[in-house]
């Protein structure tokens, strides 16, 4: 909730800009640029989900479904109708935003965790549709030959080029979201998180704000889905299952939900764990995630970004005990 300065953003941007170059020089991490493309895609989702959880105090267990809708709308419209991928991405955002509005409006009017219930059910239904509507989605076999992206005729045909595209998106969204957090809208969101009653009687339209943030988070997931589809050129339903929604929640919990950097750190760590460092665990991977979630909720309620503050407090207390 601290003010986020320009310096951390600039440093982070510097890190991202030189990343592919460094990874290209060091053979041991040669594939990290590819993994970082996925980190960027997931960051788009976690930034929105973090805003929803940490600021509006709501949980969505259906982000994988919005991610999937983005991917499938892009895939279907480009492969079956040959439409321009950027246009399809935009249509996907409209479709996802509308669906999120329809799912969110009734459940966010009620107090309590109805949104978690509604999105859980929604996620399961959408997953079934991806599997069963074979004439549209290809069913469990998925959809292939999804075209890549190009900008003004310039093909984004290498991992490095796509890396910069995805992270360009991430930075635009990051700055937009930070602007929101640091404005009166962000203040209203924090107020809603502390006391809906007081926020309401101060003239804040609480249910409208909650729906707005939910729709925003769904739109970001949809964008991520489109970017994913055009990067891999292939999608199938298993990417968008309930477990992925839970994985996203673990990312937020690990990084910290009260700070936008938490969403990015969490996405980074969990993605590298699952793509690179957890291979030997195979099906026991799930246990590792369970353990992470357990440890974080017990010992690190504010996630990794809250760790320095916790250590500092511990240190001060030690000092005063001496």
């Amino acid at each position: 909730m601290l003010r986020i300065g320009k310096l951390p953003i600039a440093l982070f941007a510097g890190f991202i800009i030189i990343f592919p170059w460094v990874a290209g020089k060091v053979p041991a991490i040669g594939n990290y640029t590819d993994i970082m493309v996925f980190v960027g895609i997931y960051c788009l989702i976690t930034i929105g989900l973090g805003l929803l959880m940490g600021y509006a105090g709501q949980i969505s267990v259906g982000q994988a479904a919005f991610y999937g809708i983005g991917a499938y709308v892009s895939a279907i419209l480009t492969t079956r109708y040959g439409l321009n991928p950027w246009f399809c991405m935009f249509i996907a955002v409209l479709v996802t935003g509308t669906i999120a509005f329809l799912v969110g409006t009734p459940s966010l009017k009620l107090k309590g965790h109805y949104l978690a219930m509604a999105t859980l059910a929604f996620g399961i239904i959408v997953f079934i549709i991806f599997n069963e509507e074979i004439q549209w989605t290809g069913g469990p076999d998925g959809m292939a030959d999804i075209p890549g992206l190009s900008i003004f005729g310039f093909e984004l045909d290498s991992i490095e080029k796509y890396f910069y595209l995805v992270w360009g998106f991430v930075f635009v969204i990051l700055i937009f979201t930070i602007n929101v957090i640091q404005s009166d809208a962000g203040r209203a969101l924090r107020a809603i998180h502390t006391s809906e009653a007081a926020a309401n009687s101060m003239g804040v339209n609480v249910s409208k704000f909650k729906v707005l943030v939910f729709v925003y988070s769904a739109i970001l997931a949809s964008l991520a889905g489109s970017l994913y589809a055009h990067y891999l050129n292939f999608i199938n339903p298993s990417t968008f299952d309930l477990f992925f929604s839970i994985k996203l929640l673990i990312m937020i919990a690990l990084g910290g939900m009260y700070n936008i950097w938490g969403a990015i750190i969490g996405a980074g760590i969990i993605t590298f764990l699952s793509y690179e460092w957890l291979h030997y665990f195979e099906e026991f991977e799930v246990i590792v995630y369970g353990a992470i979630l357990l440890v974080v909720t017990i010992f690190l309620p504010n996630g990794l970004v809250g760790l320095p503050g916790m250590l500092k407090e511990l240190f001060v207390r030690q000092k005063s005990n001496e």
Partner: protein, 259 residues
């Protein structure tokens, strides 16, 4: 007495509020003249807070109407009622604890300054000026309630007396015509209570109508123009402080409830 709506800012008529089998309110009809301080007193559980929750749109009454400036508030949600000019404080402090004192008051400015997600996200030119305008207004209010030097403190760090003042300040930021104060002096010591009643008088002097729920009879007798007495959700008396002091039904209700 002349009963035109221009004179009465608030009219409570035939209001019944049932929670299951419990009648929290049963037709305690009364009117509030614009510009006065009207107190609502009564033993615990008499229905005072419930009445505030109805006036501010948190509860929809089982029966009856509340009219603000001559119009029924039935159709309006809480935030819309706030925008129309009714503000409130809470019996148990409901501040935004982890926000600063200044931010708490700035939040009250939401009724007067429209908020847009898009305009904020793209940091459109108006956004910065709007923020500064809100800040100035909030600082002025903090000066008025005597908390200007604490503007950067998290609200949770303030002592109870100042938290109660801050809640009033936050309510003032919405620029209300009617302010509903739910036990503003509860838990305060004598000095703090004196500060609170002076503040309420100062608010009233600005032309804001005050509806005051309070247990401290000294405060009530000193600052209110009229008093309504509730008992078990019903109105048992209404009048000037002098008339209420000598009313035998009131004395009985109070003594009865404490015996």
């Amino acid at each position: 007495m002349n009963d035109t709506t221009a004179e009465n800012i608030l009219e409570v008529q035939g209001v019944v509020m049932a929670f299951g089998g419990l009648m929290a309110l049963f037709k305690p009809d009364f009117k509030v003249k614009r510009g006065i301080i009207k107190a609502i007193i009564g033993p615990n559980g008499a229905g005072k807070t419930t009445l505030f929750n109805i006036i501010t749109g948190f509860f929809t009454p089982t029966e009856g109407t509340v009219r603000f400036k001559g119009r029924s508030i039935k159709k309006f949600k809480t935030h819309e009622i706030a925008a129309r000019g009714i503000s409130r404080t809470f019996q148990t402090v409901e501040l935004f604890g982890n926000m600063t004192v200044l931010e708490n008051v700035m939040l009250g400015c939401h009724t007067r300054v429209p908020t847009s997600f898009m305009a904020s996200g793209f940091r459109l030119p108006g956004a910065k000026r709007k923020e500064e305008e809100m800040r100035d207004r909030a600082l002025n209010i903090l000066k008025f309630i005597g908390l200007a030097d604490k503007f950067e403190e998290p609200a949770d760090n303030l002592p109870l007396g100042q938290q109660k003042m801050l809640e009033i300040g936050r309510a003032l930021a919405t620029e209300p015509e009617l302010i509903c104060l739910d036990e503003p002096a509860a838990g305060l010591n004598e000095t703090e209570t004196y500060v609170a009643s002076s503040l309420i008088k100062a608010i009233n002097a600005k032309g804001i109508t005050v509806l005051l729920v309070e247990h401290d009879m000294k405060v009530i007798m000193n600052i209110s123009d009229e008093i309504v007495v509730l008992n078990y959700g019903q109105k048992i008396a209404e009048g000037t402080p002098e008339a209420i002091r000598d009313n035998s039904t009131v004395i009985e209700a109070y003594l009865g409830s404490e015996a």
